[in-house]
Symmetry: C5
Subunit: 321 residues, 5 copies
Amino acid sequence: MLINCTAYQHGRKLADIPVEAIRDTLQQPDTFVWVALKDPSANELAVMKNEFDLHELAIEDANHRHQRPKVEEYEDELFAVMHLVEEREGKLQVGEVHVFVGANYILSVRNNHERDFLGVRARCEREPKMLAKGPGYVLYALMDAVVDGYFPLIEKLETEVEALEERIFTRGAARSNIRRLYRLKRKVTLLRHAVLPLMEAAGKLHSGRVPEVCAKSRHYFRDVYDHLARINASLDGIRDTIGTAIQVNLSMVTIDQTEISKRLAAWAGIFAVATAFAGIWGMNFNHMPELTWEYGYLFGLGVIASAASFLWWRFRKAGWL
Amino acid sequence: MLINCTAYQHGRKLADIPVEAIRDTLQQPDTFVWVALKDPSANELAVMKNEFDLHELAIEDANHRHQRPKVEEYEDELFAVMHLVEEREGKLQVGEVHVFVGANYILSVRNNHERDFLGVRARCEREPKMLAKGPGYVLYALMDAVVDGYFPLIEKLETEVEALEERIFTRGAARSNIRRLYRLKRKVTLLRHAVLPLMEAAGKLHSGRVPEVCAKSRHYFRDVYDHLARINASLDGIRDTIGTAIQVNLSMVTIDQTEISKRLAAWAGIFAVATAFAGIWGMNFNHMPELTWEYGYLFGLGVIASAASFLWWRFRKAGWL
Amino acid sequence: MLINCTAYQHGRKLADIPVEAIRDTLQQPDTFVWVALKDPSANELAVMKNEFDLHELAIEDANHRHQRPKVEEYEDELFAVMHLVEEREGKLQVGEVHVFVGANYILSVRNNHERDFLGVRARCEREPKMLAKGPGYVLYALMDAVVDGYFPLIEKLETEVEALEERIFTRGAARSNIRRLYRLKRKVTLLRHAVLPLMEAAGKLHSGRVPEVCAKSRHYFRDVYDHLARINASLDGIRDTIGTAIQVNLSMVTIDQTEISKRLAAWAGIFAVATAFAGIWGMNFNHMPELTWEYGYLFGLGVIASAASFLWWRFRKAGWL
Amino acid sequence: MLINCTAYQHGRKLADIPVEAIRDTLQQPDTFVWVALKDPSANELAVMKNEFDLHELAIEDANHRHQRPKVEEYEDELFAVMHLVEEREGKLQVGEVHVFVGANYILSVRNNHERDFLGVRARCEREPKMLAKGPGYVLYALMDAVVDGYFPLIEKLETEVEALEERIFTRGAARSNIRRLYRLKRKVTLLRHAVLPLMEAAGKLHSGRVPEVCAKSRHYFRDVYDHLARINASLDGIRDTIGTAIQVNLSMVTIDQTEISKRLAAWAGIFAVATAFAGIWGMNFNHMPELTWEYGYLFGLGVIASAASFLWWRFRKAGWL
Amino acid sequence: MLINCTAYQHGRKLADIPVEAIRDTLQQPDTFVWVALKDPSANELAVMKNEFDLHELAIEDANHRHQRPKVEEYEDELFAVMHLVEEREGKLQVGEVHVFVGANYILSVRNNHERDFLGVRARCEREPKMLAKGPGYVLYALMDAVVDGYFPLIEKLETEVEALEERIFTRGAARSNIRRLYRLKRKVTLLRHAVLPLMEAAGKLHSGRVPEVCAKSRHYFRDVYDHLARINASLDGIRDTIGTAIQVNLSMVTIDQTEISKRLAAWAGIFAVATAFAGIWGMNFNHMPELTWEYGYLFGLGVIASAASFLWWRFRKAGWL
């Protein structure tokens, strides 16, 4: 689905143009065309391939989707893939943006994701000085928007981790904790798959041999790289914390187990003593003097109660009860 | 076993030729020969060595099999080894393809694997413009076919992991879970051994000093590299998830153990109380007034039942029962 | 909030100047301006941006805060971010210093941190020869002060780890140990996030292509780098030790559990024997000769006591009691 | 002990020569001397040092033994150390070969190892064309023989791992499994110490700046490197598998423990019920109507048996028995 | 404390000179001064700083101590820090040597360590040809002595690990094993902190751009590097083994726990059966025929004994007893 197709000159919007006019517009000096597609059909992509002379392999990737984040150079054309991650009903959903950038065009293709990039376009159009840097700057603006979308997810993960931290030292929550930790780990893994390769790709756009089309925006790509590095550091921290939390949770369960064993042992002991005494006075020997005492029964109950109390007190002191 | 032996000129099939004609055909300009063997004998390989002037060490490797994936340069000859992995009866079987590539020939040798590469040849012949890039492009086409064969395995592993994820939080399945996790881990290890060195080798064919014969297909090898990188990232994710799942499974078993201990402790306590009371009224003291009451027995049973019920209620409330 | 705004010439303090005079002062030869801000508003930063011609992206970072430590070059301007870590009420609090360094100015911005850098300024003013090296030396002095602030934290962590080491082999402290270990791990993670990227950044200021403004202080930055490397090695050591301690703690809990099981088993056995004997002599068979013996009861108690004592002695010898 | 001392010209054996003739023989063009020693005394090494002008540090290393595998360059002399590993009585024994290689000599010193290299010499002498490449080729031949000696060990380790895989899911074998896993781990560690540094060293002999004496055999060293890489990948796989197997074994033990607890709980419950009923009918209340029934005893036994059976059936269904 | 202050010319001792004469002596051609200090005061270091013109930062480090091992270049001056590790009363104590090396002087400062370097000096003086290489060779000799001091510690650690290996499969030693393993781990960590950075530093003295003063002794530094690499490999091996041993120890404890549970379950079962039978015959039903049999009591005891024996035999066979 075509969202926009606009020509810009010296950083200012010239006009929305029909797709067929692209090829001609590209001939004008100091002009570039910015096209936005959403979940395009193979046909729509084929049309774009023709208008912009895109590289076959890049188009193939865009058709197949499920690419990992990357920035690839084909002669004077750049092909970038980024993952759009959003949370829907507690699960992370991954969409993709494919961006084709040339000296005088930029084509962004959004797949399987609700949030659009109209805000990015509006912001770019408000700053003609920036937009005048050309398609490279637009690539930066898109990348910046994608990366900004990761921050709330990271913050949510950090909040969840902190909430869990309180819980792992609470008794009885082990089963649900381990479940949550596992789910958090999975989310972190998914985000890392979006962040790490993109960081690597952004690195290539600001240091070493930077592609021509991005050269003027090099500082901006370093800024994106820096955001990704920060996100990545946070993810590493969360990952590490989850690993420790799983170990801690297991330790807490084992400690719980030990405490229950102690309590079990203590009560078993108390009742075993009571039962043993009762058993002894239940024996049928003919001559058991205390059985004939007037207050023998009370005496017996008293002995049993005393022994049980004594044990109870001992176990209490030892911290078993 | 010889599968094919065909000469191509300017990307078009010239003719199937007999093995003895290879040496002569190689003299013709803009022509290359593409030979396919399957589980060849040492003799067949020796013939090929003669016709194509292959390097002794490469031929030795092809004879020994059990090579790890690699791409080696011998002067102007390339020798590539790739692993073909397929699932037969729930187990992963590893076959090998050895490919010898020169300026005007390509020899592919398939070992211990059912799937053939006729589809690759047909596709190449349909695109003469591509095939005109020479043997390097054929190497790419073979490599691409091999790598494409990994995707369904990865998807199957991911499905298995997801199925297990449901199960590790289910009680009573720990024993079979751990078995499955172990088997999955082994499969991942095997696939990594196929993917990781091949990725490294593909890297050398698209960046830095690219061998002459592959130079024209450099973008294509980057595409293969990219696919391998994606597979590798998936494998890393699966590996990581399996590691966590093993830990989680152990935690679940320990939690189960704790819950069983609690239940055991609870019932032991209830019966111990009943037994202790019964023991007390079973004592033989002469003066035990309640024994002579008319409804003494009922009273006794009532006390026992009340105590047991009270305990049961307490344990229930504490979540032990 | 403006803390200081001072001009220096040939390493000596010239005068405190008003903010509006900065731009003029920067025109004088061999002179640089050192401004210190604390928790500045966006407005204050905008003023500074104007006076010093700071790069927009750097100012944006300074406005957003929550940056990871880094040193970035914008043409002939350096932008450094460092984390200030201090312990308040047992928790580590992270503040930030942002430093903008140019050929003839240095602007340091302190956020969310109590400790000021007046000591650094005083020390610098006492050593005009050093200060004459220019803003690069001031950057070093600030960095050195920040890094020196990490040492007491590291020492405290090491003391806590050593205190825990004594405790993990003590019985009954497992629950609080695991809690402390977890908290220590979190503190280490937080400090690593402050130290590791700063170390990387400091590395770029002393080896390879060093930014012009720092060239004269290169040996000093290596010194800072070295301190960070030492801190980092300590953190790695603590981290590793915490990991081992968590494993050891779990082992100790499991060993405790085993010992409790043994004791439980031993006492259960002793009472089970007593109860079994009492039960036997409580049976109602008509002909049980020992029941009619004159000292039958004593004999019975003796048998029970002997059996229990024998078991007690056996268990004692086996180390179960 | 001197094993051989032979001169070769143009790849063909010239003659066995006495040690004293070495220095003179080295003067002849296109000639090299190949000496083999076994567990030499310091004296023997001193003689060789003189004849070949070997570097003092290399000789010191050869005297001390216990070197890690390496290839060192001393001007135009190469000094290589390789580990010979063999299994004697179920334990891995490590011997060492030290090889000194110069432009026209090769001296191999074998320490603490039974297998000799006569086969290598014979094979070399059968291929004069190869041997004509000089001492570098002999170094390759020796290295190849050493590395070939690792393969059977790897295969044995893999067989042992596979045998263990069957056993870790078997009940009751945990104790011996863990012992075997530990021993396997130790063997893997030992082999890695032999393989990893040698791989690194072999890497330096085929890529980058290759020492003069090995230049002609560079492809051969790549072949050795490749074998080592394959061995190393296998070792990594085994290592990884052992790590997982240890975790799995612990999980299996814990699962076993849980199952035993369940069974224990079940039987304890069944007997506790029987004992409680028996205790109740053993009470001495005057009015317990069922005691006077004619078939009261049978009724009592019936109740006990029914209760016990019911519990048994319930536990059975729940999978506890 | 000054230990030595000696001038050397052409590798031969010239004379012990007073500290004040250093500056003059340094003027003489082909002469260098070697000073050794032990736990010097700040004053003594200040004097040396003057005589040798040492860099302020290096002197600061020497004053502060607690440096990590390193080799730093200050123009034509080298500053090296090495850790001296010795075992006192079962604990590893870390001392430090700081070495300042220039074109014609070497100053070694030993801190907090008993062992002196007189042996190194004596050995150097016995080999004038070596000593003639200048201060760089002395640095090598000192480094070699320090590194040689690590070997006995490594051997002791390896012996301790082997001793523990026997013990972890022994029952009942788990508690002390885990304690020992923890202590070993700590020692390994401490040694790694001494070895790893020194290895890195030694690497810089033999490959790449080697500092002028060490150029002539480059092969010797490679030798030191090699020793450190060997030590490091041993430490890695020990570390890895300790990690596995901790896991194995935990597994053994869990296995022990399982076996105790089984035994507990078995005996509990046996006594429960005895008690249940005794309880049944202790019931007060009027008509219990076996109670009136003449040999009823014997019959009862027989039944109890048979049941118990049968269970005992079953448990024995199942390996629970």
